[in-house]
Each structure stands twice: as C-alpha cells, then as structure tokens.
Symmetry: C2
Subunit: 143 residues, 2 copies
C-alpha cells in the first residue's frame, strides 16, 4: 500500500505514533474529496474497527488539524467538518454546500476567485466567508 506508507511517514514526521486506526482515518479522509464530519468518518471506520470510539475520531481529527494536515471547514450550523488537503502553499477552497466537494482555488482575491470558480468549476458562488483574524495594535503590545 503506497498510500499507507505515505500516511505512515506523515504521522512519523509529526511525532505521532502510527496506529492502524490513525492510518485508516487518514485513508478515509484522503480518499474522500469532500469534507466530512467526525461522525461520518467514525461510521466509515467502524466497518473495519468494531470497537472504535467516537471520541477517538474527534481527538485525532483535532490533532491532525492542529498539525495542519487537515483543515476545518466552517459551517454556519456550527458543526465541525474536516477536509484533507494535500496541496501545500497559500490557497483557499471552494466548497459545495450540496455535495460537499472541495476544490482548490489558487488565486486569493475573492472577485478573482469567483471568476475562476465560474470558469473552472462552472459553479455558482452563493456566499463567501472572509474573516481576517489577528491582534489589533493595542492587544499585540500586551502579549
């Protein structure tokens, strides 16, 4: 299994122990080109691992997100979703609210992005979430 070797290496590089469940979790996320909720991942994994706890899935997904391996998809319904994006470098995502597929978008300006999405994905942009987080001058000083 080439893929598994890759995931194996990935985990090692992060300093995480390589367990069958972690490999399977990465595999599920890696094969899916859509974002998934922890519960969905759990249901898929339980086919192979009868005794898999939902908390384990939550913990691992959170951990992997912290390491930047997978990314969180924000939903206004305030549920967690994750997506495995192998692409490196600065880029953003176009997500379909219906089928949950994710497409990489290389350009960053939203106007430009809309154009690219119309052209490449032939999709419709219904909304976008753009929020810049940081610290204002006052708070940056206090750190």
């Amino acid at each position: 299994m080439e893929k598994n070797t890759a995931y194996h290496t990935l985990l090692k590089n992060l300093g995480l122990k390589v367990t069958p469940k972690r490999l399977a979790l990465l595999s599920v996320l890696g094969e899916e080109h859509r974002y998934l909720s922890p519960e969905e991942v759990w249901k898929k994994l339980r086919r192979s691992f009868k005794n898999l706890g939902l908390p384990t899935v939550y913990r691992n997904m959170e951990e992997l997100e912290r390491h930047g391996v997978i990314s969180k998809v924000l939903h206004s319904n305030r549920q967690l979703y994750y997506y495995f994006c192998p692409k490196t470098g600065h880029h953003h995502h176009f997500v379909c609210l219906e089928c949950r597929i994710v497409e990489d978008i290389s350009v960053c300006a939203v106007r430009e992005m809309e154009k690219e999405i119309k052209r490449r994905v032939k999709g419709t942009v219904t909304s976008h979430i753009l929020q810049v987080n940081g610290l204002c001058s006052g708070c940056a000083g206090k750190q």
Copy 2:
C-alpha cells in the same frame, strides 16, 4: 433618543414588532464595537430587564442575523458571536481575537487586506478564514 428612533424604524422596516427588549438589544449591539456572544448580550440586558430569558436573546439575534441586520462572527471554538455592522455594501471585517474589536475592511483581496490592516489598524494578522460557498456545476443543475 435618536438612536432608538433609528432602531425603531429598522425593526418596522423588517416587519418585526417593536418591543422594548428588541430596542435594547439593538442598542447594546449598536454601541459595542466588538462582537458579542448571546450570553454577554443577555447579561448586559438583564441590568434593565430583570426577567429576560436567554432564549429570547438567541431568538432575536438569530432573527436579526437572518434579516442581515447583524452578522455572525465565525469562531473555530464553534460558539456564536454577533456583530452589528451599520456599514452597507460589500466589505469584510478584521476582528481582534483578543479584545474582539471589529474593523471594516473595504478592499477584498487578502494580500491587500493585510496591508491595509497593518497600515490602518497597525494590527497583526494571525490567520484568516476564507471560504467560498456555493454549488458546483453538478449540484447547481439538480436544484
């Protein structure tokens, strides 16, 4: 109270009944240049209204958000926050994760935004959430 008249009109235009609590809620949000959680708003309002239920605050904030009067601030901790933004037209926000102040950003490209933030707010951008939502070609057809 000029402000109250404005909120009064605002509610009327939305076809919502004008109640003292709604006016006060708008007032709290309108005076605060920061995003607030429903509970925080509730605590502030309870100074004036002893019998104010938290659900009422949730309901009203959700309603106002639906009407586009206030906007939801996304947090990865999956809690709800709202911010009253009087500014119209296409623009985005810079939010300080520390003091929660919100600044309007007129330009849309993220690179440009970072520049503007550094210049105007003298703040530091630690991260940004940019997610374009919509429907891909396949799903758009199925609608």
